[in-house]
Symmetry: C2
Subunit: 210 residues, 2 copies
Amino acid sequence: MRIAVLGTGMVGQTLAPAFARLGHDVVLGTRDPAVTRARDGWDLELPLRPFEEAADGAELVVNATDGRASLDVLARVGAALRGRVLLDVANPLDFSRGLPPSLTTPGDDSLAEQIQRAHPESRVVKSLNTVNCKLMVDPSRVSGDSTVFVAGDDPEAKAVVRDLLGALGWRDVIDLGALSAARGLEMWLPLWVGLMSTLGTTDFNLRVVR
Amino acid sequence: MRIAVLGTGMVGQTLAPAFARLGHDVVLGTRDPAVTRARDGWDLELPLRPFEEAADGAELVVNATDGRASLDVLARVGAALRGRVLLDVANPLDFSRGLPPSLTTPGDDSLAEQIQRAHPESRVVKSLNTVNCKLMVDPSRVSGDSTVFVAGDDPEAKAVVRDLLGALGWRDVIDLGALSAARGLEMWLPLWVGLMSTLGTTDFNLRVVR
């Protein structure tokens, strides 16, 4: 399928080629393609488009932007989000007061819900935000199966994301129900950051054990 | 050692006899012992004292009260907390707006830190708040080892808690460092509640896999 990956930081740079390797038709969205292409070390061969154009014709749009910029970026994309499945992997982290980070969202809201409210005709699914981007596309980086989650209000949109997760190698996928469960998924991040500091690696995840 | 368990709800009723079975000298603290003893179904043989007296002579004080009441209860205990290891297993959950719950603390604070600030001469350790109380005292309720955490500013106090965790059967204990890491541990709860709803059980936990 046609996938637009918005954001050319570490997350976008990792997701886009992984989706392309799975056989998808991938376009990267960025603020200014010329600036991104001129970046030291930029070596992705995938098409680069301004945010305003990247989502045109995409069946799946992936928000891989910095959580603090996501709402602004998606406002630029605007009408092209109508009807689209919008996979939100971003986190609204605020490191301005040091560690542990806090979230920019209040406790009764989430970035995913803010995006859904701003784009009511899109179909937002929160997933993959609970792991580092290298693990997103290669769950075998940790030993055995570990868990990822999906949350969203549209069952068909979640099915599209679950198919993609399966293709990436995720076998333990828990559907938490409505998009409001994204609050818990985003609130996991302060603990994730604490674990990263303690373990000295980003190659870890949680496994839900019963 | 002498352990004072503050709170006679499900958590206190589960922790206190488990500590007694390990050979500790356990006292339960409650608002009004006569009222607690008269409660339908109350069958614990352990000493019941008013909060004001329960912590006298205790080496370890356990905050097993409802997170919304914890600061008030601990204010009653007052001076008896000086120098004590204070194991905080409570969560500042707010269910007043339905599910998912939010937290009563802002994102750059935690109940554990509020308790530490209110009682600077106590030595607060956050632990066990990430699992259901039955699992707290019997980690074998889930398959294989799962993970619990400790966070606190006093290494000796953490060692006391780690010994107790070991005696309860916890083998995978991760020390997240300073008490500020309690923020991440408390922010795990909205995801925990979502998992409880999805899985239909409280017998689950996370395992950190690398």
